[in-house]
Each structure stands twice: as C-alpha cells, then as structure tokens.
Symmetry: C2
Subunit: 349 residues, 2 copies
C-alpha cells in the first residue's frame, strides 16, 4: 500500500515533512532534528491538519527524549512529561496531538520496568505505529465514505483534509479520492479557507495533481454555488469532536453546515477516532485557538490589507453543532444520527 504523498517521513532520526507554507508554488521539504524544530513546524503551520500534527508530535516527543540522560524511569518520566507539556502548547484545538502524546505516555508507563534505552526504542516504534495506523485508518475511512458518493456528484469541501493533513489519503479528500479510484466522476469545489488559504493552496493542489475537476471559490461564495452549481454533498475534516458529536474544524465549517441545512445538502465529517475527545461533553467546551491577527490583516505577513489600530478576530476554528451533521465517517464505520448515542457505540467497540 503506497502512501499518497509522503507528507511525513521518519528518515535517519529526523522527521522530513512537506513545508505546507510554501505550497502550491513550491514543493519544499524541511527536516525536524529536535523537539524545538517540531514545535516550530507545528506552530507556524509548516505541518498542519489534526492527524498529521498528532503523528509529527509523536516523533517530536521521541526526539525530545532520545538523548535523555535519565538514569531511572522517574527521571525519564520527568523528561517525557516535559516534552509532552511543551508540544501540547503548540496548538490547542486539534485533539489528535493530545491523543498521540497521551498514547506515547501510556506506552512508556506500561514499560516502566524496562531499561531506558529500551523504552526509547519502544516509543519510536509507537510513533511509527501511530503513523502507520493513520495510513490504514485513512484507507478505511475512504472505503466507508466513498459509498456515499454517487457518479456526477458535485462536492464542496473546505480547508485541507487530504494527504497533506494525514499520513496517507487524507480524511475528507480521502473519501473523494477513493470514489474516483472506483470510477466515479465528480466535480469538487473548494472553499479557499481564509485566512491562510489551505483550500486554495493545498486542497486545489492535491486535487489537481490527482486529475480532479476542481473549482476554487472564495468562502463568501459558498451559499451562491450551493444554489447555482447544485452542490449535493459536503465533506469536511475535523480537529476535535466532543462526546455529543459537536465538531471543531477550520473556521468556516460551521458556516457551511448552516448553509447546507438551508439548502438541504448532506453534510459529512470525516475523521479518525483519534479526533474524538470523549472527555469533553459538548462543542462549546472545546478550546478554540486564536491566532495572530496579522494572518487576517496582512496577506502572508506582507501586503497590509486593513487599516491599523482596528480590532481583528482570528479564531482559527469554529464549532459545528452535531444537529447540523448528517454523519461522521471514521475508520471504524459511519456514525449516523443520533450522534450522541452512536459515537459511544462505535468508538468504544
């Protein structure tokens, strides 16, 4: 099973990742050699997409402890926890990072009786497992989800929930890729996804590379094209899903969900189970990252497009109520309404 695009690779004790701030004009790779490189790559969004961040954080945590001088597990655990706390601060909303770091922590605890050098090897293996499971999970989500797509569908998506956001196919785009592989024809419309334009820059690039009929729109055009172009399905990724099925995802997703309801268009979320935060009961309790206002006021920190001294909101995510979601596609199956009940059944099975 080949990977769709090697967004994240572990090569010779370094993480090689696609620098997503340079796309679509340049396909550049960067190397993360230590935990600080990883923190910076996540923070500046050289790597982004909740599953991808989770994977990179796992390797980053390994980079953080691989040279630990700890003489016993207590000391090692202190180094590990320091790394976890550090990486947890990079971006607050996407849950996969916390899930992945917690999994690494648990793995260490389970092996606390082993020698430190062995635990280090086990943790590297665990990071590799997280990557590999994400690859397989992408394929499973795609297989479940592609059945929802009919020939000649006109699909809308936002941000980038593709290969660049995961270790393989992607989530929302993975479903679309698989449908095409199965011979279905479709038109894909992409919201540019201000302020950082992941839709325009990343999703259009991926979709074009895969030979799709892809059309870029501004976020403000979504309602117009739902009506005028007859959009009949919407697929989005997710950064964190609460126990009741509320979804935090790229800001603008909630817009689309409301517009979809008005236009009677099925609205699907595609996300691995590692995105579900069952400790949070409802979406309003999901922390929403607020980023530098210059992302809004200065295009890529260069051309200023707004007056100075005004207030700016730059909440990077919004929260879509479970009531607006038709179904959530996971690697364990499709979760239909009532989400609140069915999430528990599917996630914990």
């Amino acid at each position: 099973m080949d990977r769709y695009l090697p967004t994240i690779q572990w090569i010779g004790s370094k993480i090689k990742i696609v620098d997503q701030t340079k796309l679509p004009l340049k396909l550049r790779y960067i190397w993360c050699r230590d935990i600080k490189d990883v923190f910076r790559a996540i923070k500046t969004m050289q790597i982004r997409g909740a599953p991808a961040i989770g994977i990179v954080a796992s390797f980053g945590l390994f980079l953080g402890i691989k040279d630990s001088k700890a003489k016993n597990f207590r000391e090692f655990k202190r180094d590990l926890d320091r790394g976890i706390r550090y990486l947890s601060k990079a971006r607050p909303t996407g849950f996969n990072t916390f899930w992945a770091l917690e999994r690494m922590r648990k793995k260490a605890l389970e092996n606390s009786d082993k020698r430190i050098c062995e635990i280090k090897d086990i943790l590297l293996k665990e990071a590799e497992n997280i990557l590999e499971e994400d690859r397989i999970g992408c394929r499973k989500m795609a297989e479940f989800g592609c059945k929802l797509i009919k020939n000649n569908d006109r699909i809308l998506t936002i941000c980038n929930a593709g290969s660049l956001a995961t270790a393989d196919y992607g989530t929302a785009l993975g479903v679309i890729y698989r449908a095409k592989e199965k011979g279905k024809s479709m038109k894909v419309y992409v919201c540019e996804s201000r302020p950082l334009l992941q839709g325009a820059r990343l999703s259009c690039w991926e979709l074009k590379k895969r030979g799709f009929d892809v059309t870029l729109i501004c976020d403000s055009m979504a309602a117009d094209i739902m009506r005028e172009k007859g959009i009949n399905k919407i697929f989005c990724g997710a950064d964190r899903i609460s126990r009741n099925g509320d979804v935090a995802n790229k800001v603008g997703t909630y817009n689309l969900a409301v517009l979809a309801k008005f236009h009677n268009i099925p609205f699907y979320i595609v996300a691995p189970t590692s995105t579900f935060d069952l400790s949070i009961l409802k979406g309003e309790d999901i922390p929403i990252e607020e980023r530098n206002e210059k992302e809004v006021t200065s295009l890529f920190f260069k051309s200023r497009i707004a007056p100075f001294d005004i207030k700016v909101i730059n909440r990077a995510f919004d929260m879509t109520s479970h009531s607006l979601i038709t179904a959530i596609i996971t690697e364990k199956g499709i979760i239909y309404q009532p989400l609140q009940k069915n999430i528990i059944e599917i996630i914990e099975k």
Copy 2:
C-alpha cells in the same frame, strides 16, 4: 450639509474621485477627464459602490458629449446613445448606473427642442442633481434606518456601503453613522469581503476614521461570530433589487442572510430607490458579473495563492431571496414584508 467624505467631486470639467484600489494605505485621488477615464475607473473599481458608479457614470456621460460636434438633436442623440451604450458595459449588475444613464437620456429628450449647447448644460446640471439627490437620499435613509439600532447593538456588515460607495454618508454604513451621531453606542463587525476585500480595506477604514469600535473578520467567520459575539443586527447595501424584493449585492451577502435566518438575526438592506429595477420580476433574472479569476487566485494580481490550471468562480455578486430579508430601508421609507407588495407602494408613491 457637509459631505462625509468627498468620494466624487466635479471640479473644472473634471471628475475627482478617491482611488479606492489604493485604500486603506493611501488616500489618493484620480481625475477623470473624459468618458474613457470614467469607464476605466468603474471597470477597475477605482470607483465602486452602486450609487457612486451611477453618479460617476452621469458625469462620465456628460464628458462623453460635452465636445460633441452634433449640429442637430438627431446627431446629438446618436452621440449620447453611444456614450450610454459604452458606459453601460462597464459593470453589469449594479442598477444605479442604468437608472442614472436613462435619466440623462430622458432629460435630453425632454429638451430636444433646445440648442445643443443648452442641452449640454442641462445634462451637466442633471448629473449634479443626481449627485445631490444621492447626498440627500443617504441622509434620509440614515434617518429612517437609525431608529432600528438600539444602544449596545452588535452589528455585522459586508463589503463597503459607506461614504466611498455614495455621494455622502453611505447606505448601510450611513444608518450606523447616524445612530452614533444620535448618541447610540455599538460594536461594528466587518466581513473582509473577498476577493477584493472592500470590507477590510474600505469599511474598516471609514469606520475607524469615524471613531467606531470596529472588528474585522474573515467571511468564513460570520456564523461563528453571530453565535459567539451575539451579533443582533445585519445591515448590507444592494447593487440591484428586483420587483419582488430579491437583492443582488456583493457576493457573501446571501451567505449572511441564510446564517442570519438560522441565528434569528434581523437582516436589513439599505439602498436608495435608484437601486430598484422594477422591470425585473425576480432576482434570478438579475445579471451577475463574473470578474477576472486572478482576483481570486492572485492577491491583488501579485502573489499567486492557488495552483495554475484550476477552475475558478469569481461571481462578484450573489442574490438574496426576499424571504430572507427583514426590511429594505430606502430614502422614501422602510419597506417591510411582504416586500413584493410594499415595494410597489413605496417606490411608486
């Protein structure tokens, strides 16, 4: 009655206008000396906003015929009609241009028995009347509309429906300005209005100059801030309104109207009666301008933000169904539902 910002001035046989492509960083003026200058200024959106375009087109038509060598009215009429046809092609959606040019044509016909040089003077006077009536109309709309605003309202707007779009206060922003003059306090949130960012560049600039508490958001954040910031009123301008009350306005307006309905927020349109095209029965028959796709794919025609060879939609306007509109504020009064019935009563009174 002083003008709020001299967006359009007639000085010594030339039109002096604010170059709106340079704001907010530079307040530059340009001079239109002939009809071609006017066509270009409208087409490139150095001047924009339906009422402002109508005014400038009237003066532009005068510039087009002022040196006419016509020896009789038939010849003069031919020159006049050529100018009207030419300016009508600059931008297709906003109705005020067609209304203003038709008004100029009628004025000429009414005076066809006069000497050509007299008719020219009459047409210049008519252009000046169109400007002056727009000024007065702005004040009247503002006076009617400001009563809808309560102290501490949190208002959302899109694009620029302010001084820069008219000969005075503006339409949607005029209402807000007047409410502040009457001592009401409010927060104003502005959608940046991709692709050309008239909200970020122009409305934020105007509002800041007038001392407002102004907050810029990306268009994709509208639903989020409606819920999270408790937006309780939306005011937008209009480019053309059909007989049944459907409204063509800056793309994204229809998004806001749907989101407003979902969040139970009153949604107001503010427009002079010159924006109403009673010859068009419903919004779907309003021609929607499609502009250069580079406005979307390359920020201000400089930095490319999307891959090459993809499709792009750049419909500059969208159509909001009358059923989503709470009321339309005109200089003749506020038109409430049912719009279809009340428009005829108010416009033709």
